[in-house]
Amino acid sequence: MLALSRWKIAVVLISVIYGLLFSLPNVLPDSVLAQWPGFLPHQRLNLGLDLQGGSSLLYEVDTDALKKQRLADLQEEASQELHDAQIQFSGLSSTTGVVALKISDITQTDAAATALGKVGGTVQGSGREVLVTHDAVGNFQIALTQAAIQQGVRNAVAQSIEIIRRRIDLLGTKEPDIRQQGTDRIAIEAPGESDPQKLKDVVGQTAKLTFQMVDESAPAQAADTVVPPDDEVLPDEEKGAPFLTVKRRVSVDGGMLTHAQQGFDPQTNYPVVEFRLNGAGAHRFGQVTSENVGHRFAIILDNKVIEAPVIQSPIIGGQGQISGNFTVDSANQLALLLNSGALPAQLKVIEQGTVGADLGADAVRAGVTGLAIGAVLIFAFIILAYGLFGVFAALALVVNLLMMFGALSMTQATLTLPGIAGLILTMAVAVDANVLIYERMRDEANSGRAAMAAADAGYRRALTSILDANVTTMISALIMFSFGAGPVKGFAWTLSIGVVTSVFSAVLVTQLLIGWWFRVTRSKTLPIA
């Protein structure tokens, strides 16, 4: 194993150069980096909120919109209940902050009250969600209680926080802070970025996707065109008419999606979003499309029509594609939003700014100093313990550090103070690999083997342990990366990089150095034996 094969030298050299190139922007001053040729890496380490601060966004759940949406649902329910009870009514609306209607036959007042009593759910701890009132001439009102509105907001905030976290996690490991503030606000802080546009793009969009049939009998000219009560007029983003009349009834919605991804249309080669529906969704979609061959259906995102194709043939199987006017980026973004789910309510940005580091400068300095001392102690200890071979291990550790910083800069993973502590511990585990190798060499030399053979066997026999230990760590890291969220994900990423670079440097780099040392000195003894 100590033979100095060309490929080993080449691999090590290339890795060292890559590590250097990608680490370099971190130590160069801005002026030099600005003149850096374009093909060289420019990215610096992405430091976390605790170390460098970042941008902050304060969102508020749009309570009015939430209330309106709930009232619209209740209106639908009320209509259904009265139909079921065979009660005639008129003037059903929900525009005045309550659901209002008038029954046609006053003698049915009691029956109507019973039917409407079934509308709405319950609020935890305070009874029914709605209050139904009526007067002597058959005017009914259904109002949301204060407790119901509060619960609605509470739920919307809690759900939004989870969905936002999922969306930001899908963007990569940015390690944001997301938390509730007050009753109806969500504060988001993300490291770095002075202009959090990308963040706003993925957080601000509700991403409510619905498939509704187009009402071809009622072409709309303007937003206020009068249409049948079962229809609604929506802005159309496709070329052609500016508005489109669609049926209010939702055939399939985004909640029935199991997966979405960016793809390309096989015919036109334009970027599209491909999606897959769950069992119920596929069934509904199949049914609706087979009943409506030759008619148009609309794909609606956040109340805007993005596509309204004619159904050519029944779509069974629950797979399909959306081909609005996408670029690869916007198709990817929509897929991300669809995968993480729709926000339960619209969010409004009410504050935007920058924040300083979480930790005080003194605390960060003390932390970094402590870790630097730790790193120096590792180097000193390994050199003291193993002499010249310790120097080789220390050099391998330097290569390891270069590669780790290079990889972290390249992938733009977020480095937090605990992340740095994790890196230092990764160094300790990297040293462990060298300790294992050297201890094996000592065993071999002491059982009478010649120096070079002992060194060679040391590598060979330690390799099983090293690989077993690191494969185990890698399994855990990859699982934590794919299942975990937020900081767990970031930690797992740093750990995986550390595993790969430490095995590489501890095994391959020291091997070259020791092989080269034997070749130069022609030593007959092992300095550590």
């Binding site: 005080g360 590792i378 511990l425 077993d468 760590t473 299942f483």
Partner: protein, 334 residues
């Protein structure tokens, strides 16, 4: 750097330090073969482990862990000052008035966001006004522009996602160890890891170290290090089981642990040294994190010898195991 000529014999007695060896490198002074009776101490260790696990359980049951603002939320106060906000001064004042988990962040040019979980000696309702009064009295020109309750940074999904991830990771690790070694090795490792996790949580509970987002990182690091220890230990044991097919298991375990003792000491010292700079300075932002990690390294090393291996010893191992998966002596010897 010259050593004594090697005597080509398998039966050469272990030499601790031979004449003519220089002091440096000091690896020469680490005994190559020791004869500690590790297994002999196992019953006492078992009692110790049970006591520690019970103590951890009792402490967590009685006083939980000291959840920080990351987990339980707190009060956020936005202030503006004339000129740049004196962050250090504000931080000092907060510490002086007994604010727990205080965090001070610069906001824009002349502002700061202050955050705390609670104030010792003040009710939750009175705390914001108390802090506001104190700050305004001490820093002229400071105005409070907003006070609000903030929720936890760590949400339910985050915790359950993490626990789920950990569960799956441990499960797969068990399978991998089963595949590479034997089932009882995997179970020993998992039991030892559970032991480490319980004790580390107990450590957090007893020391009242504030549990924050970084504590999750500490716990994961502890698990990673501990797993590394277990696999290294198993590897040596497996090798010796193939080498000494008729020696009783407890002696093979003793031999293996003695053989890898110098490695255990050197690697353990390296890891502890790496953390020492932060552990020894309580003012460091990393003190609680590194203290937890250092505890975990000690416990992880201990549990490799005294939890994982005793499980294997009690269960027994298959000794006719000849699969060529591991070390191949013939190739090595050539």
């Amino acid at each position: 750097m010259s050593g004594p000529p090697q005597i080509p014999s398998q039966f050469q007695p272990p030499i601790v330090s031979a004449p003519r060896k220089s002091i440096w490198p000091f690896i020469h002074f680490v005994p190559r073969q020791t004869h500690f009776n590790f297994v002999g101490l196992a019953p006492y260790a078992a009692i110790l482990s049970v006591l520690l696990v019970v103590a951890s359980g009792v402490s967590v049951g009685l006083q939980q862990v000291n959840f920080g603002v990351d987990f339980v939320g707190g009060t956020k106060m936005e202030v503006v000052t004339t000129g740049a906000a004196p962050l250090g001064q504000i931080r000092g004042l907060l510490a002086g008035m007994g604010a727990n988990d205080a965090e001070v962040q610069a906001v824009g040019a002349g502002g700061a966001a202050i955050q705390f979980r609670s104030v010792t000696g003040q009710s939750a309702d009175a705390a914001p006004a108390f802090v506001q009064g104190k700050l305004q009295a001490q820093i002229p020109g400071l105005k409070v522009t907003g006070i609000s309750e903030v929720g936890a940074k760590v949400s339910g999904e985050l915790i359950w996602g993490g626990v789920e991830a950990l569960g799956v990771a441990l499960g797969l690790t068990l399978l991998y160890i089963w595949f590479r070694f034997q089932l009882q090795f995997g179970l020993g490792a998992i039991l030892a890891l559970a032991h480490d996790i319980v004790l580390t949580i107990g450590f957090l509970s007893i020391t009242r170290i504030e549990v924050s987002m970084t504590s999750i990182a500490a716990l994961l690091t502890v698990i990673g290090y501990s797993m590394n220890e277990k696999v290294i230990s198993f590897d040596r044991l497996r090798e010796n089981l193939r080498k000494y097919k008729t020696t009783p298991l407890r002696e093979v375990i003793n031999l293996s642990e003695n053989e890898r003792l110098s490695r255990t000491i050197i690697t353990g010292s390296t890891a502890l040294l790496a953390l020492s700079g932060s552990v020894l300075n309580p003012a460091s932002a990393l003190f609680s994190l590194t203290a937890t990690m250092a505890f975990g390294i000690l416990i992880g090393t201990y549990s490799s010898i005294y939890v994982a291996l005793p499980v294997i010893l009690l269960w027994g191992v298959k000794r006719d195991d000849d699969e060529p998966a591991a070390i191949n002596f013939q190739t090595a010897r050539r």
